[in-house]
Each structure stands twice: as C-alpha cells, then as structure tokens.
C-alpha cells in the first residue's frame, strides 16, 4: 500500500472516529444535567449503529433537564416547585388555593379554579441546546467530507496507474540466435502453425514496481503490419492492461512473421490484450524462466534507426525536438520543459527538469551529444535540473567523439556505431 493511500485511510478513520467522540461527550453531559443515567445513555448513543442511539436518546430524554434556578443558577428539574438552594419559587401558584401549577394545566387540580393565561408560561426558561446544533452540522458535514476524500482518492487512483512501456519493432528471428530459450520457443511456435504466440518473462519485483517483458510472435503474415502499444486500465478491480494493436496494410510483406518485444513497468502486472485490425485476438502464452533480451548489437542498430528517424534540420520545430528528446533516455528524469534559443546564433536547446540531476551519467551525456548530432542547426545543449546544469557544445562533442558530431544526422550507421560503443 502506498504512503498516500495509508495517509488517506488514516485521515478517513480519524474523521469516522470524531463523530462518536462528539456524540459521546454531548450525550454524557446532557444526560447528566437531566439526571439520567449518563454512562448508559452515552454507550447507547455511541454504540447504536448509524446514529440510531442518538435519535432514541433525543426522543426519550426527559424534557425538563438542564434547567437552572433563575436566581442562584442552582441545577433544578421541572418537578421542583422551589429551588432547593435559595428557596425561590420555580412554578406559578393557584390564586385560589396556592397549589403549584404546571404550565400545561388549564384548571387547578386542587380547587378547580381556571388558570389565567399569564400563569401558563414556565417560570424557569430552558436554555437553547446549542451543542446539539453543532453535532447535527458535524454529522452531515463530516460524512460529506469523507465521501469527497474517498471519491477523490478513487479518481486519483484511476488516473495514477503509472506505467512505462518500451517496445522494439521489426525484430528478426536471427536477433535471438544467441538465446536458446527464445530460439527454442520460436521453433516450437513454428511447428504449431500460424497464430499469435507470446513469451512472457516477469522480472523479480523491486519494491512496488513490477516489470514484465513480452515477446510477441505473429506467424502467418501475408501483408505488412503496423503495431502500436499502449497501457490502459480495465477498471478498478481488473487492474491495468497492456494493449498491443496490429493494423495490417494492403502491401505484401517480405517476411511471413512479425516479432515484437515490449517491456512494461508498472505497479501491477498487466493483462496483455492483443488486437488485430480492431478485433481482440487470442494468443498462446508461454512463461520464460530467463529474461528476454536480444543481442546488444541488434539493440544498438534498432535504437539508432529509431533516433535517426526523429532527426530534424531545424531547432525551431519544437514538436520534432520533443519527439527526439522522448526517444532518448533523458525523460527518465521526469517531466520536462524546453526552451529554444533561436533568436541569434549559436542556437541552443535548454531542457528543464523539475527533478535532480544527481544521477546524470555518461549515458545521459551521450544522449545530449546525440541531440547535437540529430538537430542540424543546434550548437549547444543545456540540461537544467533542480540542483545544477549540465551543458555541452558542438565543439566539445566533436572533440569527445573524434569526428564531427553532425555526422550522426547523415547516416544511421555512425549513430549505431556510437551507441554500440556505449553498451
């Protein structure tokens, strides 16, 4: 359970507890002042489910309680004719026989004389019951507050199914030649015929974070296909889903298969949903005992072509710049904003992260160099975090590489070579 959820539950429990405490204090004081059995009524009011005890108490409590002598403020009840402390008269008396009169009487029960209107009002006025008003406001407002918190918590939970998806498209069977588990699985799948096969490996959990790799082998392709991946929620109880969608084209494919690797990280292991041309497809799943990774050489070439495709000649093309940054590993530092210095040369790119750059390493510097190489008119890159700035110019990058950094933008081969040198 996350810290946020623990706090939320603690706050809600605290709010739930406030109500019985308030009711208990009120009922104890009130019943004591009315001469009732205070502990018993407090227990009934507090333990009675959903305020039933309090409703019963309000109805059956004696009406004359919480009265005080108007002269000496000594506690009295509506049964007293005189104040036991100062002797002041607490009731009107019959003008015929002097008998104490109740305010509701119309005639004196002793002598039968009619009671005039001016003697039909109580001598001792009952004080307003303000404590009850506050409790009634609290019993309405606190549940509304709890409801708001819980609904907010549920909405936040639904929108915070945080996940990260990394995928590699267009893999060849040869890329897995040095992995017996995968190559064996591919051979077995081939024997079973056309269809969709999934090899899954779940990494050991690191804290609350789960990581799963899927290798999806679609056998029996007759045309080119485009594949996209995304994560979604199947609802509160079903958890997250990883959606892999194939859209086939008219044009023929040179290969009769498609291999696709997806690495998914989230707080829960997702349910894999594969769709082919808008229809959910069934697949045969195998669990692997070993991590799914293809050769490093392949990784370099795939990453290089992915980055090369996103190159842009102009720094002013902000969306292309963001697309390129997203393809590097820099977004690992979290959300960022960019600032483009394009008023006068040298043109510069500034990337602002809210997070710290404490873990900024050689790999991240390499991504900054790649940005310099793939944005044609870019002269320097500044990466600004909460605790400092990392910067590199075109000259520094070229000196470090031993050749012109802009060669990255001329062919993917140079970039692939550079990436391979990093692994």
């Amino acid at each position: 359970m996350s810290l946020y959820a623990s706090w939320m539950i603690l706050v809600v429990m605290g709010l739930f507890l406030i109500l019985p405490v308030m009711i208990g204090v009120y009922v104890y004081r009130d019943s004591e002042s009315r001469g009732m059995n205070a502990p018993l009524w407090t227990l009934i009011a507090v333990l009675g489910p959903a305020f039933v005890g309090l409703i019963i108490y309000l109805i059956v409590r004696s009406e004359g309680g919480s009265l005080k002598c108007p002269q000496c403020q000594y506690p009295v009840t509506d049964k007293y004719a005189l104040c036991p402390n100062c002797g002041a008269s607490l009731k009107h008396r019959c003008r015929g026989c002097g008998n104490p009169l109740e305010p509701s009487w119309r005639q004196c029960p002793s002598c039968g004389l009619s009671v005039p209107d001016d003697q039909r009002s109580p001598v001792v006025e009952r004080p307003a019951d303000r404590g009850l008003g506050k409790i009634l406001i609290a019993v309405i407002l606190i549940p509304l507050l709890i409801m708001g918190l819980l609904v907010g918590g549920l909405v936040t939970f639904r929108s915070s199914i945080s996940s990260s998806v990394g995928s590699v498209d267009g893999m060849r069977i040869e890329d897995y030649a040095d992995m017996p588990v995968v190559s064996g699985w591919l051979k077995e799948s081939d024997q079973l015929g056309d269809g969709i096969y999934v090899l899954e490996y779940e990494y050991p959990r690191e804290g609350d974070w789960a990581k799963v790799s899927y290798l999806i082998y679609r056998k029996g392709l007759t045309s080119m296909t485009n594949v996209s991946v995304g994560s979604s929620s199947l609802g509160l109880f079903k958890g997250p889903a990883l959606d892999v969608t194939y859209n086939d084209f008219e044009s023929p494919s040179e290969l009769d298969y498609h291999l696709y690797q997806v690495d998914y990280s989230a707080d829960k292991v997702p349910r894999l949903v594969i769709q082919v041309n808008g229809q959910e497809a069934s697949y045969r799943q195998t669990i692997s005992a070993e991590p799914l990774s293809f050769s490093e050489a392949s990784m370099g070439s795939h990453e290089a072509s992915n980055l090369y495709e996103a190159r842009t000649p102009y720094l002013g093309n902000a969306s292309a710049v963001v697309n390129l940054i997203d393809r590097t590993g820099l977004p690992r530092f979290g959300p960022y904003t960019i600032e483009l210095q394009t008023k006068e040369e040298p043109f510069g790119l500034r990337i602002f992260f809210e997070a710290s750059l404490e873990t900024f390493g050689q790999q991240d510097r390499a991504y900054a160099i790649i940005l310099l190489g793939l944005i044609e008119n870019l002269s320097y890159v500044e990466i600004i975090g909460s605790d400092g700035t990392q910067s590199i110019t075109i000259q520094e990058a070229s000196e470090e590489l031993g050749y012109d950094v802009k060669e990255f933008g001329q062919s993917p081969g140079k970039l692939a070579e550079y990436l391979k040198s990093l692994y």
């Binding site: 305020f51 305010p103 939970f157």
Partner: protein, 93 residues
C-alpha cells in the same frame, strides 16, 4: 352554496405560548431525527466507498469494512423496526 363566512359566530382557537412552544419542540425533534437519518444514510455510503477504496489496496480490509457495513445496516434496520413499533407514540406527528 353559502360562500359568506361569519367570523363573529366562531371563536378562533386560543393561542398560548406554552402550546406553541410544545409544537415547536416537537417539530424540532422531527427535524433533528430526519437530519440524523440523513447522516446515517451518508455514513453508510461512506462505508461502502471506503470498502471500495480499500479493495484497491487490501482485499481483507475491504471485506472487514463490508462486514461492518452489513452489520450496521442490519442493526439500523432492526432498531428502526423496533423503535417504530414500540415508541412511535412518542412522536405525535
């Protein structure tokens, strides 16, 4: 049909402070009981929402909450039925 009303031939009901005070207190009691009933319904909704929220994090905790909700609803129902049968005369209207 006679439409004229002879006001002089009827004596209007006598209004006394004490009677009015009693009516006011009874109305206040009904109002308070209605507010508490509404609060009771809100608390039950809160418990249901809490069970839903807990189910996302801990199923046993959610089941305990649901059990408490069930017990609370059952007890409320029993108390309401008993109260209506035995003590409804306490509330005159």
């Amino acid at each position: 049909m006679k439409l004229n009303f002879e006001f002089d031939s009827f004596e209007p009901p006598v209004l006394r402070e004490q009677d009015l005070r009693e009516i006011l207190e009874k109305r206040q009691l009904i109002k308070r009981a209605l507010m508490l009933t509404l609060a009771s319904a809100l608390i039950h909704i809160c418990l249901a929402l809490l069970a839903l929220y807990l189910s996302l994090h801990s199923l046993p905790a959610a089941l305990v909450c649901l059990f408490f909700l069930g017990v609370s609803l059952l007890n409320s129902g029993i108390a309401a039925v008993l109260f209506t049968r035995k003590m409804m005369n306490v509330i005159p209207y």
